[in-house]
């Protein structure tokens, strides 16, 4: 942690590799959350009932 990070330059964009990895990780987790099956739970309604307004 005491050494400078490596930087990536894409045109006018300059970003450190650790920050780039965090952003890529967030994108991956977001995509996984969209497509990963959610376990069935008894508290989840199976019909299209609405939350009582």
């Amino acid at each position: 942690m005491d050494t400078p990070a490596t930087y990536v330059q894409l045109g006018f964009l300059v970003i450190s590799v650790p920050n780039l990895l965090v952003i890529l990780g967030m994108v991956l987790v977001f995509l996984a959350a969209l497509f990963a099956p959610f376990p069935a739970h008894h508290g989840i309604e199976t019909d299209h009932d609405e939350h009582p307004e």
């Binding site: 967030m26 977001f30 959350a33 959610f38 309604e45 609405e50 939350h51 009582p52 307004e53």
Partner: protein, 223 residues
């Protein structure tokens, strides 16, 4: 004991502000909304978990922060246990922002400000901004070269905004006080308000697919 009806008989004290506040809470936030035992079918997605994970990380941030505040800002420099607690504090903050941003992406793409939820969205934005300031004051409160480097480099930017007259990043006492007391209380209260707002109106419905006629099926069409 009176029976429930659409026009209940006035009770003693109904004209008071406490009575009005009670009726408002009973109408806007009944216990079935505050502590629901069932959720709509569309909540069965991992996207809805991000906010809860962020709150869990925030609990770890506050818990480890309380320990650090008790032992003082220099503790983690001279103690292995202090370094461990400081690491929990640091990494739980990383997790907090990681999942806050994912929560923000999820809510942005499903336009969660719909159906009267604009203030819920705005409070979330304020939590994010106040969280950033909290993180910044934490960085300059570390009492090491890292903190000095950040403060010295930040002071010109802060001064350029005009905030330097009352927000002096080189003043350790001010930064530390703001970091351990003012901003954590603010974030916690805003998060509680945010959750209560979500419970008042329920989780926003997904955006309906495009209708054959070209008009989007507005979720507000469904009662």
């Amino acid at each position: 004991m009176s029976t429930p009806s659409s026009h209940p008989a006035p009770e003693p004290g109904d004209a008071t502000w406490t009575g009005a506040a009670r009726r408002l809470l009973e109408r806007r936030l009944p216990l079935t909304h505050l502590l629901p035992s069932r959720q709509p079918f569309f909540v069965g997605s991992w996207v809805y978990v991000f906010g809860v994970v962020a709150i869990t990380a925030l609990i770890w941030v506050i818990g480890s922060g309380i320990v650090l505040a008790f032992f003082g800002p220099g503790w983690f420099h001279v103690s292995g246990v202090g370094r461990f607690v400081n690491s929990i504090h640091f990494w739980s903050v990383q997790l907090f922002f990681f999942f806050v941003v994912l929560h923000l992406w999820g809510q942005y793409f499903m336009a969660s400000w719909r159906d009267g939820r604009a203030t819920t969205w705005l409070v979330g934005v304020v939590i994010f901004v106040v969280g950033l300031v909290t993180g910044f004051t934490g960085y300059v409160s570390q009492q090491n070269l890292d903190a000095q480097w950040i403060a010295i480099n930040a002071k010109d930017g802060i001064n350029a905004t005009g905030a330097g007259s009352f927000f002096n990043v080189l003043d350790f006492g001010q930064m530390y006080g703001i970091h351990v007391m003012l901003l954590p209380i603010t974030v916690t209260m805003l998060v509680v308000l945010h959750v209560v707002q979500v419970r008042m109106r329920g989780v926003v419905k997904p955006i309906e697919p495009q209708a054959p006629g070209g008009r989007r099926n507005a979720p507000t069409d469904v009662a």
